[in-house]
């Protein structure tokens, strides 16, 4: 189904490509609407302050405060990947592989941007296909993506800023996968895997969850078949990457010497720096997901802070209690886990909900990375599964339990009214919809990853030769050393 509509779309792309490469007319600021009444004009200005529909005046204009926040947020989310995630992961690998991790993050950011420009954005946020599983072709090559807002998604944010903001999510998601397969996969194989994975998994999934006509977009799609909610990407970003990462890691097999040789992080300092950048950047990720500098963003800002801090401190406390000392990696893991788990909930829960989420975000992922991994002996090198898949999964579920209309009226009005989400939020049962969304996400991720992995293996192979892995990927795959004394 997904792959089908994808083939169709790839059709468009080829056809569309050449003509479209010619400069496409954009419109920076549309002319003011034909003489609206003073009252309409004031209403439009109030709409700007309250982030509602401008109505008869100021149409086609972005609002400074909202645009400012969304540009800041987009920059923050890019910063999460480059250098944030790159450092967080780079510090956790052995010295001989640090550059390979950086290269993977750099390569992915370039690759995904090109896909996004060509057809990715259109596949996710277009509507011309009128499909719950895939967007449309109206935005191929960012055609029609101007500085005027796309009111399907945000009344007061420039469409091109929105597109770039969403691009940053599309970049970090596959970059997260890198953590599970670190130190043992060929650079070219990763690039090929990611290319297919974006088209088959991420773009359709993102449309289903966030697209205006999305299959499980409970908040914004009046006709959503599944009335699920995902504020900033628990399913789309963390579950999809985390579950795919586990499968890929298993197919790849463990690193040479896994379980025998010492594979301790070569620089906890880099790891901690990355964590700090991730935390700060995550404000763009979560509070930015309000797509405005409004009260929902404000609430997400608070819940993000509380969950991250509580989870980090709790993880440290657990270590202190059961192991005698709190480690840097413990604090960092907890902080990231807290941020992951609050992600789908950030704009839907209140302060106490965030604290509860923070506590759970420390306990369960802690068990996942220490016990679960030990039991099943898979080599999830940097714990992408333990933190992102497990965390994202808990988060999606907890969101269904803790979400409250009091912090986000969108859960009670508009589309939520029509598709019945409002009722679920008020009288319970949302968690069931969340389970459905989780099921779809896991199934799609796991099945697709198996298929893609074997395709890539067949085409160019997944792993470098043993000698290369022994000496390290840096000098062999990238011709450089991380550090030279």
């Amino acid at each position: 189904m997904k792959t089908l509509s994808l083939k169709k779309l790839l059709g468009y792309v080829v056809l569309a490509a050449l003509p479209l490469l010619a400069a496409v007319p954009l419109c920076a600021q549309s002319p003011a609407a034909p003489a609206p009444s003073l009252n309409d004009r004031v209403a439009a200005l109030e709409a700007y302050v309250q982030n509602t529909d401008p109505g008869k005046a100021l149409t086609g204009v972005a609002g400074p405060g909202h645009n400012a926040w969304m540009m800041t947020s987009a920059a923050l989310v890019l910063f999460m990947t480059l250098p944030g995630l790159a450092l967080f992961y780079g510090g956790l690998v052995r010295r001989k592989n640090v550059l390979s991790v950086l290269a993977q993050c750099l390569g992915i950011s370039g690759l995904v941007t090109i896909l996004w420009w060509a057809f990715g954005y259109s596949m996710v946020f277009g509507t011309s296909a009128g499909s719950p599983f895939i967007g449309g072709s109206e935005f191929l090559f960012l055609h029609n993506v101007t500085s005027a807002p796309n009111t399907n998604y945000a009344y007061w944010v420039s469409h091109n800023v929105f597109a770039m903001y969403q691009l940053m999510f599309a970049i970090i998601t596959p970059a997260l996968i890198v953590g599970a397969i670190a130190e043992r996969m060929k650079f070219t194989a990763i690039m090929l895997f990611v290319t297919i994975w974006m088209v088959v998994v991420y773009f359709p999934l993102a449309h289903m969850v966030w697209g205006a006509t999305g299959f499980m977009n409970g908040v914004w799609n009046p006709d959503a078949a599944i009335r699920a909610i995902d504020f900033a990407g628990g399913t789309v970003v963390h579950m999809s990457s985390g579950w795919s990462a586990l499968v890929l890691a298993i197919i790849l097999g463990p690193r040479l010497g896994f379980g025998k040789e010492k594979m301790a992080p070569h620089s906890m300092v880099l790891c901690m720096v990355g964590t700090g950048m991730l935390w700060a950047g995550w404000y763009g990720f979560n509070a930015g997901s309000a797509l405005a500098a409004d009260g929902i963003a404000a609430n997400a800002f608070m819940t993000t802070t509380l969950a991250a801090a509580v989870a980090g401190f709790t993880w440290g406390l657990i270590e202190l209690t059961f192991r005698g000392h709190a480690s840097i990696l413990g604090f960092c893991s907890g902080i990231v886990a807290g941020l992951v788990v609050i992600t789908p909930a950030a704009g839907f829960v209140n302060a106490n909900g965030a604290v509860i989420i923070g506590l759970i975000a420390a306990v369960i992922p802690y068990l996942a990375v220490t016990r679960l991994k030990a039991i099943f002996k898979y080599d999830d090198a940097l714990d992408t599964f333990g933190v992102h898949a497990v965390g994202g999964t808990i988060g999606a579920l907890l969101t269904g339990i803790l979400a409250t209309g009091e912090v986000n009226s969108n859960l009670l009005n508009g589309a939520a009214q029509k598709n019945g989400l409002a009722k679920l939020v008020e009288h319970g049962g949302l968690w069931l919809e969340q389970l459905k969304a989780m099921g779809i996400t896991i199934t799609l991720s796991v099945v697709a990853t198996i298929v893609i992995a074997f395709i890539v293996k067949a085409l160019i192979g997944l792993r470098p030769v043993a000698e290369v892995e022994r000496q390290g990927l840096d000098i062999n795959e990238h011709g450089e050393e991380g550090y030279i004394d």
């Binding site: 010497g257 040789e261 010492k262 000098i475 062999n476 011709g479 450089e480 050393e481």
Partner: protein, 112 residues
């Protein structure tokens, strides 16, 4: 007494260490070195400029042993460090006139 100095491939250190302690050799001193020899290095290119790295990372192990243990230790090191590929390294045996254990001031073989 002799000082046995072995230059080996880094990832072989664990194996050598285990082989030795299994054989009751309880002490050794290890350091990181760079080796130059038959084994070819790789080339690094930074923008315009190209560098051939012919000094390869190796690990140096120093083991003081009583004379009667020399043969055995050399043997253990060879077996555990060998990959058969070029660059496996060397073992040097050097005469040792005295050994002192700083903590106890013991001297000679008992100090090892």
């Amino acid at each position: 007494m002799k000082l046995i100095v072995a230059i080996i491939k880094p990832f072989k250190l664990e194996e050598v260490k285990e082989a030795l302690s299994a054989a009751g050799i309880e002490g050794m001193t290890v350091s990181e070195v760079k080796g130059y020899g038959r084994q070819k290095g790789h080339t690094e290119i930074y923008r315009g400029s190209e560098y051939t790295v012919d000094f390869l990372p190796k690990v140096k192990i120093e083991i003081a042993v009583a004379d009667d243990l020399v043969a055995k230790v050399v043997d253990l090191v060879v077996k555990s460090a060998k990959t058969g590929k070029i660059g496996d390294g060397k073992i040097f045996v050097i005469p040792l006139e005295e050994v002192v254990r700083i903590r106890t001031e013991e001297r000679g073989e008992t100090a090892i």
